[in-house]
Amino acid sequence: MGKDLISGLGDGARSNRRAAKVAESQYRMVRFENVGMRYGVGPEVLSDIDFSLKPGSFHFLTGPSGAGKTSLLRLMYLAHRPSRGRIGMFGRNITKLKRRALPALRRRIGVVFQDFRLLDHLTALENVALPLRIAGARKDEIEKHVSELLDWVGLEKQIHARPPTLSDGEKQRVAIARAVIGRPSLLLADEPTGNIDPDQGLRILRLFDELNKIGTTVLIATHDRGLVSRFGRPELHLEEGALTFRPGLVADVPNETAKGAPTTPEPAATPKASTAKTA
């Protein structure tokens, strides 16, 4: 990863941390209070969800398929409104926010999907540049940052490749680069290793870990128990309607770049009595 980029991301993350600390007393980075969620007029898929995430924390969101992990993430990346309860993010009560205020908040959240969601007609560079273009960044600024970021994820030779010509692991790295190009305070990933082989999955997780070390709050939904235990980060476990907290087991990360790195952030999830129902 380029030093400038890392420091740039770090600066953004530090200022985000400062802002988040101010708001922490009320909402922290993420705070769910008695949140319920339903799709349309269907039954609640999430009920009475209570938890909060501290800035700079790293958690896994685990649970079997259909437990509501994706629904919980959709609430967090503001793709869905809760049917009840209160969600605080970045110190703001988002349940009361008007729709036109959401894009600015969404730009502070990076999202990585299991199916990558890259635009096949755009090159890797153009895909990664998309958030900056949307935010109205200058062309020269876009090209500089995107090239550095693709270099960081190891795709410096494929910057002009289109997604159909990339392997799944490479696609996911492009997706990660796109998720973090806007220096998000919060990085959410929905089964990011679900479609790639274990070695690539480990490489992806190391990228998340690096981002976390520079202050990005990370939450990764996965049902890969092996990956969770290998990284030893705390878990929010969603199963049979209940959200439980499991502290991390291993403090260090199986990643050479992590040697000598700052101590893994303290477990920040503070779930109360919580439940989550499957659809």
């Binding site: 793709a79 969404r106 096949d120 755009l122 998309l130 958030p131 949307i134 806007g182």
Partner: protein, 293 residues
């Protein structure tokens, strides 16, 4: 980095069929507008030529007895004494023959054919004249003389021409409505096809306006391409029709022509179709996006 659409519109069938349909709509609108404007031009010409004029027809006299000159003089004196008449002059025989030539061909009017004499009468501007009373007066002095009130005759023609213009206007409105419906359909289909990409763009912080612009520019291109296509075919059609009219009915058909102003109006059609497509797409997309989280 080249600016590209975030939404991959080439996947959509709309890129192929919408310009063709818009082209057909613009073609019909161009023909209707051209017809309407040409008729308007004819009305204008007739009105200028015939406003405040009368025509008196004197039956052909016996050539052996000096023709109808006595009746013509008698009618002229009555006309010139009538208040409101500016001037009155017999129409030269050559002019009458020219008017009749389309019916008789190049051989011209036979010399032995008895032709009525015509007197052209111009009224003073704003003059109020009782044509019926004047007609009776003429009939008493010159038996079988007929007075044609060109203004009254013109009114019937103008009324008919205006009706044709209204029909043309309705055609243009229907064509415009149909074009809007096509854009609405294509835009909704595009929203459905690109729903996941739209969700992604929202997720990475795109505002509704950014997404709507993607559809707007796409519709603008389709609308303009269709407009150019339709106008090009309409132009060829009008040129062919003008040539055929010139060949088939020179002199018998009223001379229809388009001024530069009319051509500019027709030239605006592709711009109008692009504008309608753009605004329609924006309205549909913004409305649909407001329903999304």
């Amino acid at each position: 980095m080249a600016q590209k659409y975030d939404l991959f519109f080439r996947q959509a069938a709309s890129g192929r069929f919408v310009p063709l349909i818009i082209g057909a709509m613009v073609y019909l609108a161009a023909l209707a507008l051209a017809g309407s404007m040409a008729i308007g031009q004819v009305i204008e010409t007739w009105s200028e030529d015939l406003r405040g004029t009368l025509t008196v027809q004197i039956p052909a006299g016996d050539p052996a007895a000096g023709g109808a000159s006595a009746q013509i003089n008698s009618a002229l004196s009555i006309l010139l004494e009538t208040p409101g008449v500016d001037w009155a002059e017999p129409v030269p025989v050559d002019d009458i023959n020219s008017l009749l030539r389309p019916w008789f061909g190049e051989a011209g009017v036979p010399d032995d054919l008895p032709l009525p004499a015509l007197i052209e009468v111009q009224l003073l501007p704003g003059a109020e004249l009782d044509a019926a009373k004047l007609g009776q007066h003429l009939d008493q002095a010159v038996p079988d003389a007929i007075l044609f009130d060109n203004g009254a005759w013109l009114q019937h023609l103008v009324r008919f021409a205006r009706s044709v213009q209204w029909v043309a206007g309705i055609v243009v409105a229907l064509v415009g409505g149909t074009a809007i419906a096509i854009i609405v359909f294509a835009t909704r289909a595009g929203l459905s096809v690109h729903r996941r990409t739209i969700e992604l763009l929202h997720t990475i912080g795109a505002k509704d306006g950014y997404i709507a612009r993607q559809f707007q520019y796409h519709s603008l291109r389709l609308g303009f391409a269709g407009g150019i296509l339709g106008l090009a075919i309409a132009t060829v059609t009008l040129i062919v029709l003008a040539i055929l009219a010139e060949q088939a009915g020179a002199g018998m058909l009223p001379k229809m022509s388009l001024t530069w102003e009319h051509l500019i109006v027709l030239g605006i059609l592709p711009v109008a179709s692009a504008l309608i497509a753009t605004l329609t797409a924006r309205a549909i997309v913004m409305r649909a996006l407001r329903e999304m989280p």
